[in-house]
């Protein structure tokens, strides 16, 4: 029996016999047990040189870079987008003025689903959840007066990612900006769509092909661009536990590497530009540990599977967003506190860029006031708390290191299961991650309803009368204007060039030839998102989801 066990028996046990613990069970937000105390006994066999390393050194537990926030703060990148391209452009320029370091674009549902603003299914949805972009001209308006070679942009788009990225690149070309000077990210993570976010177009394997095509193009033509942001955020928001979020994300990442390698790409060339995107939820310790474990696991897995010569292929760079699902409609100002604490966990977890949610996002897209407050939250953490002044300050904490180890062990179990199935594409086709998530989300809801999981203001500390808070309303005229613009664009464009571009795309899609150059030409020829997607659907069919409940 070690010291800790002795203490639990002789001191803690009797203490709680006299005065019971305040809850029957103590678990992390993900349902894993959390002990009264952690000590050196929980880190038996822990080798700091092997398991921690130095910042910027294998296995990167302490951070991807040697200088981390001492050299440069994380990128404060607030996701924005609503209404028309002009509306969002104004918000972008406002945010840049307020001090964001980079832009992140939210597209509306029709765009996300590859449909134009005048598509019948787009009715009522144009400009609501993000900005409506149907053509290169909308993209140009979106980035009006924004220096594309000096600002990095994230395009949060998946199914039609290649198409929208091509439009962005085409805008740069039309402005005379060399592609090699562009920096940014496209989310472009199709696997998590089938698993969680459900924004898909074509079936799984053709979608993987499109993703690999972007890896090839980026490595060659846009070397400062991250052609993928392998995402766990949506998986977590769909109800996964922290471990499931971590495991499925990293396994997705490994699957993308494998497909790239099978397509003839070299790990050293394309994997360094992978980026990752995690959720940061309420359980502070768990989230810090999760982010650290992610880096260590990625480094070890990539090393073991491919032994790349380029060390940067083993370095996991992460963007994080505070958990949307933790925002509550009741007593919305509580959300400011939740976001601040989640953001702190992200910083202590060593993320490279961060988006903080606004307090009013359970009702609507954020107002200018609330998005400013969300940004200030990051700025206060950066400049007033001191946590950014020393690297990975929680390292060595018994609890944190134990939890980090536990994540790695849990990952290994899930990895083995998925490997036995033949990889993530197979697992997705069998519904494995989807079912796991549905199960976790149902269990969580039950915990909440039984009162085992307290949500302040919702199932405890409620207030009956609540004053309303101002929310953003989308002008329905946006939809009408977009439809008119599309009509006008179609009338003006060079039909010959347009037709030829779509034919070229169709051929490339059929033969598996490089598609990105075809997408760029389509952008220049003023082919719309919906028109290009129609070609892809023609060639590859449409994905039908089996819906695992």
């Amino acid at each position: 029996m070690n010291d800790k066990q002795r203490w639990l028996e002789s001191t803690y046990g009797p203490a709680i016999a006299r005065h019971p613990e305040r809850k029957e069970r103590f678990t992390t937000l993900s349902g894993d047990p959390i002990e009264p105390v952690y000590s050196a006994d929980d880190l038996a066999g822990f080798d700091p040189a092997r398991d921690l390393g130095a910042p910027g050194a294998f296995p990167y537990t302490r951070g991807p870079q040697a200088t981390m926030y001492r050299g440069r703060l994380w990128t404060m990148r607030q996701f924005a987008g609503f209404g028309s391209a002009e509306d969002t452009n104004a918000r972008f320029r406002y945010l840049l003025d307020q001090g964001v370091h980079g832009l992140s674009t939210a597209f509306d549902l029709p765009t996300l689903m590859g449909r134009d603003a005048d598509d019948p299914l787009a009715a009522g949805e144009v400009g609501r959840e993000g900005v409506a972009v149907s053509s290169i001209e909308d993209m140009a308006r979106l980035f009006d007066r924004i220096p594309l070679d000096r600002v990095t942009t994230s395009l949060t788009i998946n199914g039609p990612a290649s198409i929208l990225w091509a439009m962005y690149l085409a805008v740069a070309e039309e402005r005379g900006i060399p592609l090699a000077s562009l920096g940014g990210t496209i989310q472009n993570d199709c696997l998590k769509e089938y698993i969680a976010q459900r924004e898909w177009i074509v079936p799984v394997r053709p979608a993987m092909g499109l993703v690999v095509d972007t890896f090839r193009f980026a490595a060659r033509e846009v070397p400062r661009w991250n052609p993928i942001s392998v995402s766990g955020y949506h998986i977590r928001e769909a109800g996964a536990t922290a471990l499931q979020e971590l495991a499925f994300t990293l396994l997705d990442g490994l699957e993308y590497v494998r497909w790239g390698v099978d397509a003839g790409l070299v790990v050293d060339d394309f994997v360094p530009r992978f980026s990752f995107f995690f959720d940061v939820h309420n359980d502070f310790l768990e989230e810090v540990a999760k982010l650290r474990a992610a880096r260590r696991i990625w480094a070890r897995e990539v090393e073991q599977r491919w032994h790349p010569r380029n060390e940067r292929a083993k370095i996991l760079r992460a963007h994080a967003q505070t958990a949307g699902v933790s925002l509550m409609a009741q007593q919305p100002y509580n959300n400011v506190v939740r976001v601040a604490l989640q953001a702190l966990a992200a910083v202590l977890g060593g993320v490279q860029s961060l988006h903080t949610n606004s307090l009013d996002e359970t009702y609507a897209l954020p107002t200018e006031g609330s998005v400013t407050l969300a940004l200030r939250t990051q700025q206060i953490i950066a400049h007033e708390t001191g946590v950014a002044d020393t690297i990975d300050p929680l390292a060595g904490s018994y609890a944190i290191e134990h939890l980090t180890n536990r994540f790695e062990e849990g990952f290994a179990r899930i990895r083995d299961e998925v490997d036995a199935m033949g990889g993530m594409v197979e697992a997705v086709e069998r519904g494995f991650p989807q079912r796991a998530i549905a199960e976790s989300s149902f269990q969580f809801q039950q915990e909440v309803e039984r009162g085992e999981r307290i949500i302040v203001g919702v199932n405890r500390y409620r207030v009956d009368e609540e004053p309303p808070i101002p929310t953003l309303r989308i002008d329905p005229a946006v939809e009408r204007r977009q439809v008119a613009r599309l009509r006008d664009l179609r009338a003006r464009r060079d039909e010959g060039r347009w037709r030829a571009a779509l034919d070229r795309l169709r051929d490339a899609a059929r033969t598996g030839a490089e598609r990105m150059p075809a997408f760029v030409e389509c952008a220049h020829a003023r082919a719309t998102v919906g028109e290009q997607v129609a070609v892809l659907k023609e060639v590859h069919g449409v994905y039908i989801d089996p819906a695992y409940v």
Binding site: P110, L121, G124, E125, Q197, R198, Y363, A364, V458, D545
Partner: protein
């Protein structure tokens, strides 16, 4: 002498049948799936339609399945367009006595308009599964009795 009709499922009451739908382009189905499970656990038969259903598809399903209620989950902000459309189609197809209820991200201010358009009940964020079950258990027998 007339032989009595032999019931197939003697003694089993007709369960409540609910169509749980995600209409429009919004694919966030965590809530819809959790509700579907809860209704099943409450003894109801749930026809889950999956995501990206058009109003026409939702109503066609409810029609063929002879559903007592349709529950629509919407987080995309398109509720002011989609709910009235579904309600109108329901009336057109003779489903006027089927309950239309919904949940998701629907601001308080929009509820009266939806009610006027024919939505029987909206469950705002933070509603418990229990509330939904209780509501259906009370409301469905009432509509069946009509």
């Amino acid at each position: 002498m007339a032989v009595e009709h032999e019931p197939a499922r003697a003694g089993l009451k007709r369960p409540i049948r609910v169509v749980v739908a995600k209409a429009g382009l919004d694919g966030h189905d965590r809530g819809a799936k959790v509700v579907a499970r809860a209704l099943r656990d409450a003894g109801m038969e749930v026809i889950y339609t999956g995501v990206h259903q058009t109003p026409e598809q939702v109503v066609a399903t409810a029609l063929q399945e002879d559903a007592d209620a349709i529950g629509v989950s919407l987080l995309s902000g398109a509720h002011n367009h989609l709910f009235p459309r579904i309600a109108a189609l329901m009336r057109e197809k003779g489903l006027g006595d089927v309950l239309l209820f919904g949940g998701g991200i629907i601001p308080e201010a929009d509820v009266p308009g939806l009610t006027a358009a024919g939505v029987a009940r909206i469950f705002p964020p933070g509603s418990s599964l229990d509330e939904i079950v209780t509501y259906l258990r009370a409301a469905v027998p009432a509509t069946r009795a009509r």
